[in-house]
């Protein structure tokens, strides 16, 4: 089964995934029309800023067992086995925020959205674009990510690739392939700038 995999080292913080996500979870599915909808569609993936201004697309990990599901008072959170997705039923949700207390990644938000009963504030989080997946499309955040910080693939494949990378790093004789060379440079540069500014302000 393919899943969304995050590669933090490649994220440039462009937030295109957030736009794509909000659009994919709108009525119209069109960016400009979505911006005029009420309730305003919101992203379920959240690009946060790190200590050195690096980006990171924070999205639901669809944990197993899912702490939010165990904590949910009305039993509104369930797992779809087919897509291995943790889903929130907006009809059953009572907006109690018990899931906010349970989620170790802070990826659940509370607002109205177009699939929920009108006017009802409910818990909202990533649904792995199950609607798109049923149409044969891949999740919107992955589709739009230009930096390949998000990929949609078999986790075992990604894990193997990462294992290989680690193997190369410990045996210098093996041919090195920096998968995110440009971004490593960019991030190192950003980091340096901030560290220099910090040192200046301290002296």
């Amino acid at each position: 089964m393919r899943k969304v995999i995050v590669h933090p080292q490649r994220c440039v913080g462009c937030m295109q995934c957030m736009h794509a996500c909000a659009t994919a979870h709108s009525k119209s599915k069109e960016l400009f029309a979505a911006a005029l909808e009420s309730p305003l569609p919101k992203a379920r993936i959240h690009v946060g800023v790190g200590l050195f201004n690096e980006g990171f697309p924070n999205r639901c990990r669809h944990c197993e067992p899912a702490p939010c599901q165990l904590a949910c008072l009305p039993g509104a959170i369930s797992r779809d086995v087919e897509t291995d997705t943790v889903l929130i039923d907006p009809d059953l949700c009572i907006n109690c925020a018990s899931c906010a207390m349970a989620c170790p990644f802070g990826v659940i938000r509370y607002h109205q959205h177009c699939y929920a009963p009108p006017g009802k504030v409910v818990a909202v989080k990533c649904d792995n674009c199950f609607e798109r997946q049923m149409q044969g499309l891949i999740p919107a955040c992955v589709e739009v990510c230009k930096a390949h910080a998000l990929t949609f693939e078999d986790p075992s494949r990604a894990l193997k690739r990462r294992t290989d990378e680690v193997a190369r790093s410990v045996s210098p004789g093996v041919l090195q392939t920096d998968l995110a060379a440009g971004f490593s440079v960019l991030n190192a540069h950003k980091r340096q700038q901030i560290e220099i500014a910090l040192r200046r302000s301290q002296s």
Partner: protein, 409 residues
Amino acid sequence: MKHVIIGNGIAGISAAEMIRQMDADASMTLIGDESFPPYCRPMISMVLEGSVGYDRLPVRGADFYDRMRIQPILGNRVTALDVDNRTVSVQGEHNISYDKLLIATGADPRPIKANNLHLKNIFFMRTAEHVRAMLEAVPSARRALVLGGGLVGFKAAYGLLHRGIPVTMLIRSGYPLALQVDPRAGQMIQDELVARGLDVRVEVHVIGFDGNSRVRRAFLSDGTELDCDMVVIGKGVTPALSFVPKNIIQVDLGILVNRHLETSVPGIYAAGDVAELIDLARNTRWVNAIWPEAVAQGRVAGMNMVGRKVAYKGSLSRNVIRIFGLDVMTAGIVNAPHDGPYEVIARDDPLRKNYRKLVFLEDRLVGMTLVNHIQQGGMLIAMMQSGRPVNISREKILSASFNYRQLIR
């Protein structure tokens, strides 16, 4: 293996599900005081408020016992536990024998001392049945009195205010939710409720009631009287362990359990509101009578009962409440003593009604109070539960823009 579970609350049913998941052949008997299918206790206040109906309370279907192949014995309490012969007795039933026993009896409302408590329309708010009785009294109620400024008192007051009934709340301590939040957040909550019509009186309690079969008036400790036709007692809960032989099974406030949720008697486990175990923030034994703890402890107890030695790290007190326009989330130590070893940092933004307080012990986060911007509070709770050293700037965590990226290097 014959498993007997006492209690059909969420700890009991979580354990039962875990046992069934790991042992398809286990024999299971579940003894429950309430004859309802398993339901969500924290939601009863929402039934009072009117935002959800009774039909939403069950957390498992009516076929739960059949599906899990559990023999239910419902409607009666356990009267005795014979540790030597490995049996429990239920009113009107024969002795039920067990190989492994789980005590998940939960807690009962703490009674109060006052005159004429037998009068009609004086309620506890703990079970679905209590709320059903309260709703019968609501249509004719003109003024309600809520005793206690804890979570139950607050939820009762909130629900009744929603129903348009003026409420007076009596709080013994100086501010509401004194056990759950710090004074600043307590004040914010109180202001919000007072703005919505709640009458709060602090440092006063009830000494008696008066009325002709139904309650009409309350007498307070400061000598005043108060007209009321409905009373809700919310003075906390106390673990339901009257049947437990305290000379054999170690009991403090709750039943003492080790990291495997096992009591001092091998083969007997306890979980949920009745269990007392190490508290991660306080680093001492504590009864944390909250729903998510009951779920987690029930699951771990179930695993251990089928023979898988799984350790539970410890419990953590935590709560989240939404009161009108305020969201409040707290965890761990909320009122750190000034002379203690704790370091406390806080940020208060009264204009935006935004308040954050963090409590540190050396390099670990051990307590938090968040008012509004609670969405990512779970990250802080996870930090407290993992006990991992906080190696980033504490001011960063205090900021509302704190996010998961800052935790990964």
